[in-house]
Symmetry: D2
Amino acid sequence: MVRAIITNAPNGGVKIENVNITEPEHYEVKLRPVYTGLCGTDRGEVLGNLSFAYNEPGYNYLVLGHEAICQVIEASENPYKIKPGDYVVPVVRRPGKCVNCRIGREDDCSDGDKHEAGITGLHGFMRDYFYDEAKNLVKINDKNMVKVAVLTEPTKSVMKAFEVFDTVSKRSIFQGDDSTNLTKNCLIIGTGSEAFLYAFMAREYRFNVFMTNRHPVGEEKLSIISRINADFYDYTREDPLKGIDLLIDTSGDPGTIFRFVRKMNYNGVVILFGTNGRAPATSIDGEDIDYIIERNISLVGSVDGAKRHYLRAVEYLEKWNYSEGSVINRLITGVFEPEDVSIFTKKPENEIKSVIKWS
Amino acid sequence: MVRAIITNAPNGGVKIENVNITEPEHYEVKLRPVYTGLCGTDRGEVLGNLSFAYNEPGYNYLVLGHEAICQVIEASENPYKIKPGDYVVPVVRRPGKCVNCRIGREDDCSDGDKHEAGITGLHGFMRDYFYDEAKNLVKINDKNMVKVAVLTEPTKSVMKAFEVFDTVSKRSIFQGDDSTNLTKNCLIIGTGSEAFLYAFMAREYRFNVFMTNRHPVGEEKLSIISRINADFYDYTREDPLKGIDLLIDTSGDPGTIFRFVRKMNYNGVVILFGTNGRAPATSIDGEDIDYIIERNISLVGSVDGAKRHYLRAVEYLEKWNYSEGSVINRLITGVFEPEDVSIFTKKPENEIKSVIKWS
Amino acid sequence: MVRAIITNAPNGGVKIENVNITEPEHYEVKLRPVYTGLCGTDRGEVLGNLSFAYNEPGYNYLVLGHEAICQVIEASENPYKIKPGDYVVPVVRRPGKCVNCRIGREDDCSDGDKHEAGITGLHGFMRDYFYDEAKNLVKINDKNMVKVAVLTEPTKSVMKAFEVFDTVSKRSIFQGDDSTNLTKNCLIIGTGSEAFLYAFMAREYRFNVFMTNRHPVGEEKLSIISRINADFYDYTREDPLKGIDLLIDTSGDPGTIFRFVRKMNYNGVVILFGTNGRAPATSIDGEDIDYIIERNISLVGSVDGAKRHYLRAVEYLEKWNYSEGSVINRLITGVFEPEDVSIFTKKPENEIKSVIKWS
Amino acid sequence: MVRAIITNAPNGGVKIENVNITEPEHYEVKLRPVYTGLCGTDRGEVLGNLSFAYNEPGYNYLVLGHEAICQVIEASENPYKIKPGDYVVPVVRRPGKCVNCRIGREDDCSDGDKHEAGITGLHGFMRDYFYDEAKNLVKINDKNMVKVAVLTEPTKSVMKAFEVFDTVSKRSIFQGDDSTNLTKNCLIIGTGSEAFLYAFMAREYRFNVFMTNRHPVGEEKLSIISRINADFYDYTREDPLKGIDLLIDTSGDPGTIFRFVRKMNYNGVVILFGTNGRAPATSIDGEDIDYIIERNISLVGSVDGAKRHYLRAVEYLEKWNYSEGSVINRLITGVFEPEDVSIFTKKPENEIKSVIKWS
């Protein structure tokens, strides 16, 4: 019996209770979570809004949780040198058999035949202990970053999106004639935790970074935005900026996306990342298509990330943990007990990222 | 005085008359057109539908024509070894000062400060003779292809679009596990001349090629489609195909585009090429955005092409001129006299590509 | 019993005789060769010079032959639509388990655990019939090119090498400021069949093409070189050219390679392709290394090719079969009977490519 | 009159004296160096070993110094927002007119027509003040890193080399089947300051990092190597490692380079970076060429870096300044006065990087 936070996918609900999960006969690593993070996907599952979620076969429930930093309790010898006592982040998505899955790029799965821990057919990480293979674990070498490392999983998606940007933007010369992005504008739609992680990275790419949404944001968010030299705009009140070179959407709202697509510069790239299946429809016409073509604009969906992106996430989180007064830590706005399952249904005020401390 | 087919951009109209164009003081090459081609852009200008078109500064008219194969009448020595008697295709777009224009990629112009012969501020090629620099001319070595070479200009856009596909599709493993596109589907929306040129090239990429539009097409088009081993679907009657890996639009119609975006496979690429500023609006919602993201789909606008794409166009047109019973020649459905300016306002029945023979 | 040309790898020897090869229990396609080609590898095996060659396990001989065009005798249904009567080229290299082999890129095998028909542990194609899977067969659609298609296998290596060039040359702007290679020089070392195939392709890339070696070449070779607008230099007599942008070696001779590396232009690319384990040593010093660094020069080994490169080989061979008076066919300088095994030990005079006709 | 450390290129010599350099009529920024660094190039110039060095036209001396961190004294308004009081690193190489120089990639200059401050025809940074354009200055935002930022210039070359690696390694799947370099080996030849900077970055790429040279190294170097989880080998005593995936040479010694090229794994990449025109010759034979080909190995020269690489250098130096007990600072083994010109001719014992403090 193991204590776990569970739902019944895709119907929803949430509770913490002792459940009976069959232990694997052979395993490489036994893990206990230190922190797990919550995101919109967890809440969507609990609300029964995610029709694609499903229980692990053989169980009438699903352990929640795909954002975690864990400590290794036991480990057999392995090529990745994971040892007891190590802090590690487990990867979420597990491969199928397609060409991309075969080379460790299950984030680019060609046929949809993959699984995601805590979401689709695989128990998640919100339990007192679980088992995994060393290959699926990303080691955290710097012990000062154990807490901030709970952001590794959401940050890995940012790293994959920027890899996609790197590839797609090679279709022409994207940078200015000084070979940099110093004169280029990046607009990020949204001010949630993902939007902030995109802003942190866009700044490393040396864009002029702007964040926007339809509501004014509170003091704390404004303070973080200012601390990383970005700017905030309430787009219903003012025009965010003249020309956008890189547009990153975390809202999933078609109307907002195309509002800003119409302001893209030549050779601009639009990263579609945020999903909201219930977002209302918007209208696009021949002139929108024309605009995209005449300016050689690219719109690219980007989901998930591979182990390489987890490693890059760790690389940058380690940096951000030290620089600029550790402002990155201010993204973690609440630390809760596993028993506080109410946070799955009621979002704490001014939340950027809520996490659960396990031990 | 030179005989020329002119319009008054952007107001429209068309006539053939002798006009007085100042000859350049210095020039490298004097040219006379052999064939010039007509496309939707020419007709749009004549109808006054293209608000972005404008006359060459200093003139109250604009010589039409951007698709041409010419013969060299005079030539001074030049590094491109263009000599009198040579057949050449002049490039349409001329560079500004941006980073892309500086390296011969004015097709990817970063600031819109470029010109297009026969369209935006530069006299076109529909006149008895004109002058150009050798650098802007693409040599046709195989004299058997003089007629088919009038298709070089529209084909160069196809070549650029496939270069964009090559770059963008590298974001993941696109091909099957035999390293080829043999099991991949390419759907082309439209059955005009551009759609056919895309079909010819998609077949070289070894896609299963499908063409579609909302009306049944005539015998001749069906026969060409069949000759190149492609398939035609009337999408209002039947579902064109289950999964699309590469979608190429030549219609500019948002409704049709998104109808098929919703059938894209994982890692699919959508090339937006056809423009129709007057196409009616369509509605896209949160699920459409979600679909694009979860499948890592890319939608990319692609306009024009650089000199390198003209060269590749010539490379393939030369091949197609010989193979498969020269089926490529059947795309040229009508040859007219310069005086037949009515073809600018009245599309000949069953037209794929109409051309004007100059001498 | 099947008639086959065999050797005893790696010891050597050659004979044609009826051998007893176990037929597979299940197979997709039964094939009979139409033409098979001979290359230096076959002769190396026969001479016992290739220490890496070995017999198929369970046999004390190895059927020779890796260059072939075959006709399908029987075929079960398959996703590649290979049918009886079709002409096909079988791929040579068969995958192991590494990341590259898993995605159909056994030409880039990461661990050497692959097999090559007729060379390393797998019977070759020089026999009256054999069996294969449809996935390994490349279809020839144009029946006019059955003979020239025997060049598909050597040409596929050229296509892979140019793919490598495409990738590597993206490290900077390689082309001129007209976006093309028209002002760039490609020098090919060697005048054997491979060198000619490289010359054919370099010309499609629009390089100024030069071929060189240490001996004068005969009339026929000079005539072919001239026909494709290339130039020949005897480098012991004259300095081939001032600056080289793309250097392709088919000799495997270090002294000759570095002689020309020292003439590379900035950002130049050197393709190492030809192998000759017995070539004498040459000396390179600190200034050579310095030269490579200061000019950002790349030297890249390239071996074999994947199925995608066979397809591209077919694409271009089809073109070359029609254009320029079918000059490509003149590379096939001799057609022999299977019984003429003496051609394995005695190279016919003025040979470019010798082939065996099987039926 | 300005105090400056000068040489007479290419003859050599070094002294500090007040010289009369014509001030520019118009300038954007006036700068005073805070630290300048010394490298083998400076010493080579002083010894008269670098035949390619030359004085700035109009002067019979050359101000030395290309590694610097400066403070802005005066600045007119500029698009890069460089203001008085800012700390900046000036870029060394200044563009000519080639296609690469036109887009800010003078590090990839196509024709050699560029200049390098303190080396080729342009006064360097070792003087009490000088003038520059804002475009050539890289801003240091974090004031805690002023000292470590003197390493920006040498680090930018590392960043360019890894960019080259990124491009070239895309020719096949380089990473393991977990999409990372965790099971890949990087060997760095040399233990000077550049070798250490490569080691720092190779570790961020998650390679197993090894450093080697022919002599045992001192305690301090061993301690730094250990602190960054790398390993050191004296290759004359032991075999450094079985298979190398990425080999980086900072020695410029052909013999050592090819010693290890012969241990490269399949698809391995060799970065040639270190130059030593006087390094003795080595012998390479047909088997070496064969080895490179059969394994698809790439050897690439990489010199200098563009402004974008300076930015990336700053990005990582900022990280390294905080992480792992600021071990990066231990690379700066000596701080000297401008008057200590003896350090140009006599290398301090156990030097990794010597720097001059200007104020």
